[in-house]
Symmetry: D2
Subunit: 345 residues, 4 copies
């Protein structure tokens, strides 16, 4: 079996693990107040060119989204997201369980536009029943999106301008941030992205860490008592060092970007392999997730040798499957995939 | 000014108010345990032909929907509704504030079908990520719908069969139940409707009461400690008699149905008036809400003399407005509307 | 049977009901935007001498408490209350269901002191684990308390000074406000009380209305989008006029205070009756609720003729029962009570 | 500086870390469905002698408590706990944020008794206002308690008998379970404890793991869709293997118990050191947490050399501090503590 089903197949990048081993017996205080967290926070502020940013380490994606959204919104507010947004689809209703509506907008290829946001807000503000309708308080986007696509700098600028004009938070879910920023299609730097939103998170789990996401409030706009909000949501790790050490390592010597770029190189080769077998892609993803259209029979046969994710039924006879590369994907994996395709199709 | 903007323009039907006056100084115990509530519950059980039904009186619609849904669902469950459903649009996120996602389905003319529900549930059950997706636990429909339309007996039967097969609650929001049941287009009796769902409510606020909605659990399926759930949601009235007396009156001598039918008669005449001015209706509503397409200029001029609700922009130059009749609408109101139309168009 | 079990035994004060009848067929817009609500709001602002206060009408007490507290607090905050406070004891966990901890302090005779609040907040602020402990964000008191006692002007002033110094909201639950303000033991006027808190509510349900509580934000400090918060909590009445007309009547010609004072007069006579039978009172309540200590056998015999509330077991052989007077209590009721006592003890 | 301030000072026990390194590049599926989790679950079922138990791995304590309690309770229910219980004091209101009241009972030395639980439930069931009061649905205890004390087998048996009789869940927070089970004062085996409750968790974070708590539903009583509840609460780790591998190692060759016992041995020696300096202990803790009474000046001086936790002010001139041993405490640490005490007192 070759595994292309996700980007969290192994443990941590070896450098990360090595650092955990080296520091294991050092004694620290708990709950993220240790020196490793401090160092990692400093490195993240530097790489973002945001000397005053507030950086917090949470453990996993859903809890990060819930904690940030619940801390930022007031009870009468909801969060605008793409229909395909992770918070709308795959978080078991976590946002609603924290009391907030996800206001889902149509999103061809996973992206929503400044115009859509503006239109929604204007509709709301002009509606006779405005007070009976959830107030949009935040826009949530993913970079890259759940479909592997990227917002351009122009699109993100327009979104953020609109959000500021309309008084909405802009929050970027960066579960796969590295795989976006190192894509050839990316026309943004990390400092640029960091300035084009109010808060975002740098995903660790899918980019070389055992676990962990780094939330960055970019403008001195951290919600009050945010640590208590993290604790209340169950997202505060007693051994916060586990997160600090990992992010400190990932942001030493550009490790985060180097391993992200490797995944993108592998994804580009993956596309070549796919195309060489005359298979079609659902959309043009420039990041580490690729969506391949297969006849149902092909999907079944290939599935015996290659682990992938079911994405959706394309039509009565075709299935779309997702293949993901990651920091750990090897050339050898791609050769085996090529062979499996040759023999399965 | 003539008022057609809603069906809650006046206080209560005079008979209801008279009964409140007559009973005013009788002393009773509180919280709905009084004899008036008991009598009203008995009458509702009789008119529904459900001798074992549990009947509870709540004060208003949004609190009724929230209380029933929060009591019936488990934390991992959401409620399927039409995109235009009141809980999805006009309850300020009350359902989400109670922790549950509203799963909105497309709903031409406000109705969802058994096939849509089945398709959604089957999609969920077959999805690889099923456990990361909110479980549908209930189907919420309105009768009549927010668009004034009605489910046929066949449609409702199919929906309920599907719900039972799939293990979902079926809940009917009857804020305007009387205006549905007495419509010429209705092919259901109240006992039939009551048997084709798990729980529904009989709206009082919009059908002659000062306030109040009667929740009916049809099959001995009242959620445990439902009174405590009502209290927790702030929906338990100390002077529960206020609700008991009103419903007792509404369900004496068919008052509820007689005043509902009057509103339908007025709505039919309203349609004639509209058509006589060569105006179009957005859809064919057989109940007390009518949706009239006006040129923007017409809407503006008419709005100076007739109170109506803005419904939506039809296109760049046309607006849809809602006119509602009710138990209190008079022939004279219609004549004045006719005159206003003649002079405004 | 004579009823002393509560202060919500009948419908409304006859003047209130008369006004509902008189205005019944006047057409108004809904949701509290009508002219009756406007008039009542103006009268309440005047009687409170707070020309800029925000006044909102909600339907019942628990929903009022939940709505105000949930709108005012942030997720990491809880509300300090007396152990015997209504929100801590008798609201079915409504505050917690809205996500907030009730921080209960010992409260002999139902009152908490400025010193207790200060001590708690200082303990919290100095605790090493402060961030892992709910932040006190509000102090909730009842006036009169659930035990019938009253805060003196000095006590309330100290509490409010402490709250302002520590950055806490002070919220007064005035379910029985009239019965406090007209007590001989009250050394506060309504305008004084209104200035000594951030928000309070004037109870209607227990003081002559069918239902309804008037929330007063005293200092231009209404939480943002409070109407949407009311709607979300299910506390917005479609026929808001029902509340407006009642409060408009109660605050015309001092009706609210006149009927409150009547209840106090009756309570004083009630105490005389109790004492004349050599029965003891649990505490010295200067308001409309009286707590009588009975031998268990006495309680049982008396209970056959007089409806009262069980309060608590005093010891193995004694029971405390609550008797309440209200706007509707008559001299005749007291005479019958006297007779019942003579014959039961 | 010598650290005695907590039992989560270092990373993981070296064996645990070694196993993470060895397995690092093995590819697995995510979300706890991997073979390491399966193996750890099997070992835990064996060591508990509960072949049918459901075992789930969550990341941290607060999220575990919130997830279990929110999944097990209905909205109208609260959870009974000791006043000093972790959920009542140090979880930032997490339980309330999930909608449930913590019903706190007095708890000398951190323990509550069967009699207290029974008394509370009987009081509730007999109260006239029962329906207006949160229903107790679960009893939460900690083993060891937050004060380091242990329930005896007789006490736990009585509690569980009472819970079953009254229809309450019994849930044991085992954040420091190992330090309880290996204490000389413990008269229970793990299989016995497991049978004397409905659900408990085996703490990893404080007993040798980087993070992780193993929830055990003991009687086929796992709440429905518990994985979705875990996900909704943000407690589902994408790389679930991180938890599986750690618990698999801890439950291989009795590692969990061996390192727990080591901490107890160190705690016994710690007590000797304390006593040799004629210092008093607040209470007789037979587990790894010790509470030492110091004069304020002593506390200040000692605090310059020894890291400990502030516990409480004993009186105006004395302070209680907590010193904890753990799997990593060494004889050398104790010698240094002895020296520091000699030189500071």
């Amino acid at each position: 079996m070759i595994y292309f089903n996700s980007d969290y197949l192994e443990g941590a990048h070896p450098d990360v693990l090595r650092r955990l081993v080296e520091t294991n017996m050092v004694q620290t205080i708990g709950y993220g107040c240790d020196e490793y967290c401090a160092s990692a926070q400093e490195k993240i502020r530097e790489v973002c060119r945001l000397p005053d940013a507030d950086v917090h380490f949470l453990i996993a994606g859903t809890q990060t989204n819930t904690t940030v959204i619940a801390a930022a919104l007031r009870p009468y507010q909801g969060v605008i997201a793409a229909e395909s947004g992770h918070i709308n689809c795959h978080e078991s209703g976590a946002i609603e369980s924290a009391g907030h509506k996800v206001i889902a907008l149509d999103a061809p290829e996973g992206k929503i536009s400044a115009a859509q946001v503006a239109e929604y807000v204007h509709w709301h503000r002009n509606d006779e029943s405005m007070e009976h309708i959830v107030y949009p308080g935040m826009v949530y986007i993913s970079y890259p999106t759940e479909c592997g696509t990227l917002y351009t700098k122009a699109e993100l600028t327009a979104l953020y301008d609109t959000c500021r004009e309309l008084g909405l938070y802009l929050y970027i879910d960066g579960a796969r941030l590295g795989y976006g920023l190192t894509s050839d299609a990316c026309d943004l730097t990390l400092p640029e992205l960091a300035r084009l939103c109010d808060v975002f998170y740098i995903g660790g789990t899918k980019v070389g860490a055992l676990c962990g996401e780094a939330v960055v409030f970019t403008k001195g706009n951290k919600p009050k008592q945010f640590v208590t909000c993290i604790k209340q949501r169950g997202a505060l790790l007693a051994k916060g060092r586990l997160l600090g050490i990992q992010f400190d390592t990932l942001f030493t010597d550009d490790l985060y970007f180097r391993i992200s770029r490797h995944a993108i190189d592998m994804a580009e080769k993956l596309k070549e392999v796919i195309r060489s077998h005359r298979l079609s892609l659902l959309l043009d993803s420039p990041t580490n997730q690729q969506f391949v259209i297969l006849e149902d029979g092909q999907a079944e046969r290939l599935g015996r040798r290659v682990a992938f994710s079911f994405w959706e039924k394309k039509d009565d006879t075709h299935t779309v499957v997702r293949l993901a590369t990651g920091w750990s994907t090897t050339e050898n994996d791609l050769e085996e995939l090529d062979r499996a395709l040759s023999e399965s199709l």
